[in-house]
């Protein structure tokens, strides 16, 4: 068991950057070799595009590896009419688990995991993520890790590895189980909650419905790890103050690509384990790899085998690499996520993502924390469908519009919209089968 006061889960979190970079290319060489020799998906695609893995990969040669997207996997799965899309690098082991990935494109793909990754690199990355968010041995941690989701499986194993004591409410992260989550908090008094932003909103709504004092119910809870969407500063402050928390951590990643990371106490971005996953930021317009501080979509390459392996997989999540070293001492890159590209508005070279609109709306008292949808106006501006906008006076609406416009730096229209009362993400997940993605 690790020292409860230790800053890092393992010394590798503070490995010198040049060492991490060297290991990355070493791992990528092996992954590319296996992919070309053994994995039909990559071999056929790369052959069709006249690409052969270089003898020794580096930043330049790696950028020539064809980017793949969810639709490519969907197409392969459809063609094979199988759960296997040809990316399964199982190292001769029998798979231990099969997971279903999100249905954001209207079709679920699958991924296989073996014990090699469940006990190896995948576990290490997830355990670091939990440790970064202050999950510690012996700590009671509320967790609803869904068994269909890859990151849920890794979370379950990581809680085991750390020696935390999970509190496990009935059901899943949907509104109908808010009461069970609330019961688990009040009865078992956990110190840490691992939930989604949507779940914590619905639990607080349940608290209000039952006329409970949230500060009292959550009095033992010190930390909150929230996945699913970017958290605005005002929303973090609200949670900290209302629940009496020491800290609120944003965490996240992608079930497609099977990677994730969490913020540390510095809250500069998500720490992604660089010896397990390589994240690039790519321009959705040109496909070019972008440097730190530039916004594009996150493209992930898994550096470990014994699982379905994603190589230059475009998650289609808007993200950027934060161009600074974290004061916590972790040397792995910081990545900030802003929401799905499909939910964003691309204005010339700029991506206005749901996270940006959320930040802007939460700074304005009349629109704070209200669910919204968004889209382009066709003229370089954004139209925000705001839940409850009809309740605002004309002056309030005009003020909110002007304020949001100034904060976002483009024309904004605000119109009423009857979106589900939980947050911007529910607009995208109008199809219930993606509700927990």
């Amino acid at each position: 068991m690790r020292e409860p006061d230790g800053e890092f889960f393992d010394p590798g979190e503070a490995a010198p950057v040049d060492q991490l970079v060297a290991r990355r290319w070493q791992a990528i060489n092996e992954v590319l070799r296996v992919a070309f020799e053994d994995l039909p998906f990559y071999r056929s695609r790369w052959t069709a595009e006249s690409f052969r893995p270089p003898a020794r990969a580096d930043a330049d040669t790696f950028s020539a590896v064809p980017i793949m997207r969810k639709l490519d996997l969907v197409q392969a799965s459809r063609q094979n009419h199988s759960m296997q899309s040809g990316v399964e690098a199982l190292l001769g082991q029998a798979p231990s688990n099969l997971v279903v990935t999100s249905g954001t494109s209207g079709f679920h793909t699958f991924a296989l995991i073996t014990g090699h990754d469940l006990d190896g690199a995948g576990l290490r990355a997830q355990a670091r993520e939990l440790w970064t968010m202050k999950v510690r041995p012996g700590m009671r941690v509320l967790s609803i890790s869904p068994a269909w989701h890859a990151l849920g499986l890794y979370e379950s194993r990581a809680l085991t590895e750390i020696g935390a004591v999970p509190v496990m409410p009935w059901g899943t992260l949907t509104p109908r189980f808010a009461g069970d989550i609330l019961t688990a908090v009040s009865q078992l008094k956990p110190e840490h909650l691992l939930v989604t932003a949507r779940a914590i909103r619905m639990v607080l709504a349940e608290c209000d419905r039952q006329k409970l004092d949230a500060g009292r119910v959550f009095r033992t809870v010190r930390y909150l790890g929230c996945a699913g969407e970017p958290l605005s500063g005002p929303f973090r402050d609200y949670l900290r103050n209302r629940l009496g928390l020491e800290d609120v951590f944003e965490r996240g990643g992608s079930g497609d690509g099977m990677f994730g990371g969490a913020e540390c106490t510095a809250h500069l971005g998500h720490h992604i384990s660089a010896d397990v996953h390589y994240v690039e930021i790519v321009s959705p317009r040109t496909g070019a790899t972008l440097g730190p501080g530039q916004r594009g979509t996150a493209v992930v390459t898994n550096l470990s085998l014994g699982r379905s392996v994603y190589i230059r997989f475009d998650t289609e999540d808007v993200a950027e690499i934060i161009p600074r070293r974290c004061p916590c001492g972790r040397t792995h890159p910081l990545v900030e996520f802003y929401g799905r590209l499909a939910d964003s508005v691309v204005v010339e070279d700029r991506i206005v993502a749901p996270g940006d609109v959320r930040m802007a709306l939460d700074e304005i008292p009349t629109t704070r924390f209200r669910p919204f949808s968004m889209g382009g106006d066709g003229a370089g501006g954004v139209v925000i469908g705001l839940h409850g906008a009809e309740d605002l006076s004309a002056a309030e609406l005009a003020g909110a519009k002007a304020d949001a416009s100034a904060r976002l730096g483009l024309a904004v229209a605000i119109v009423p919209a009857g979106v589900e009362r939980a947050g911007w993400k529910e607009v995208r997940v109008a199809r219930p089968d993606t509700a927990d993605d």
């Binding site: 199988s82 029998a94 231990s96 869904p146 999970p166 496990m168 409410p169 949907t174 509700a435």
Partner: protein
């Protein structure tokens, strides 16, 4: 006989878990029901309903059942034994190594939780790990029936465990071309389906449908008899009794369960919502100790 263990188990329960000291004052034989659990939880301000043995430090706290403010306190040994019980049920159902097993239920359901070490923290080997099967889970929401149909089509599991509440949504979500599992196993907390309903589903699905008996508050499940409907064969880890006759037409009573597999939270003579009888002799399938359910 496992029932020979019961007196020792009862003494240990009284020594270790406050529920049984309270219950014994009213019912020396320890029969108790959900109201006793809730009352004990309230009077002791104990989320475990007085069943936790404090000498055994827990590693997980799963909620007993939906909408019930009670929890298990389980140690690693409990998890291991429950997974073995689940594996034993899978074997009884005819599941063999290398099969793909789909589970359309919540991760919190015991039918799912003990299926894989990746589903339950601190579990070293789940039923699928023990049997070298490949598990896949679909959350138990009715609106995820399409995804379950997709799993049937692309994964082609041999077995689909399914919560009773989502059978109908699944039947609506599939069509003639959807591959059928070799067996559909329906489970529901304290709600066994009547034989005509099972037959109806079997006709609609065009594949064998069976069910497991299940009581989440006792962490109990039992595979079905392959011959007799509404008849189940609990493993020796469960002592099943019928308490008091219901009436002249049915020589049985309310089914009580003692769970010998979980020891951090002690379950002795918990009265389930089932009524039935323990078959006194040999079941038509050739085994003894069958539980015949009359109704829930």
């Amino acid at each position: 006989m496992v029932t020979d263990l019961l007196p020792d188990w009862m003494r240990a329960a009284r020594d270790r878990a406050p529920l049984y000291r309270i219950v014994a004052d009213r019912s020396p034989a320890y029969w108790h029901d959900p109201d006793d659990l809730s009352a004990t939880a309230a009077s002791l301000d104990d989320p475990f309903g007085g069943r936790h043995d404090p000498s055994r430090p827990p590693v997980v706290f799963p909620q007993l059942a939906r909408d019930l403010p009670l929890f298990w306190a389980l140690d690693a040994g409990d998890l291991d034994r429950m997974a073995r019980e689940l594996a034993s049920s899978w074997i009884e159902l005819g599941i063999v190594p290398d099969e793909r097993v789909a589970l359309y239920d919540y991760s919190s359901s015991p039918i799912v939780a003990y299926a894989s070490r990746a589903f339950m923290p601190h579990l070293e080997q789940g039923a699928a790990d023990l049997l070298s099967c490949l598990p896949i889970c679909n959350d138990g929401l009715p609106e995820l029936a399409d995804r379950c149909a997709h799993i049937l089509e692309y994964v082609r599991p041999s077995t689909l465990f399914i919560d009773l509440d989502v059978v109908e949504p699944l039947l609506r979500a599939i069509d003639r071309s959807t591959p059928r599992p070799q067996r559909l196993v329906v489970t529901a907390d304290e709600r066994p389906a009547p034989p005509d309903q099972i037959e109806g589903w079997q006709g609609a699905l065009g594949a064998p449908v069976t069910q497991m008996l299940r009581c989440d508050t006792a962490l109990f499940f039992a595979p079905p008899c392959p011959v007799q409907p509404l008849t189940f064969h609990p493993s020796p880890a469960f002592v099943v009794e019928a308490r008091a006759p219901d009436g002249p037409d049915f020589p049985g009573g309310r089914i009580a369960v003692t769970n010998l597999a979980v020891r951090s939270s002690i379950v002795v003579r918990y009265l389930t919502g089932f009524h039935g009888a323990v078959h006194p002799g040999e079941c038509p399938c050739g085994r003894e100790g069958a539980v015949v359910i009359s109704h829930a």
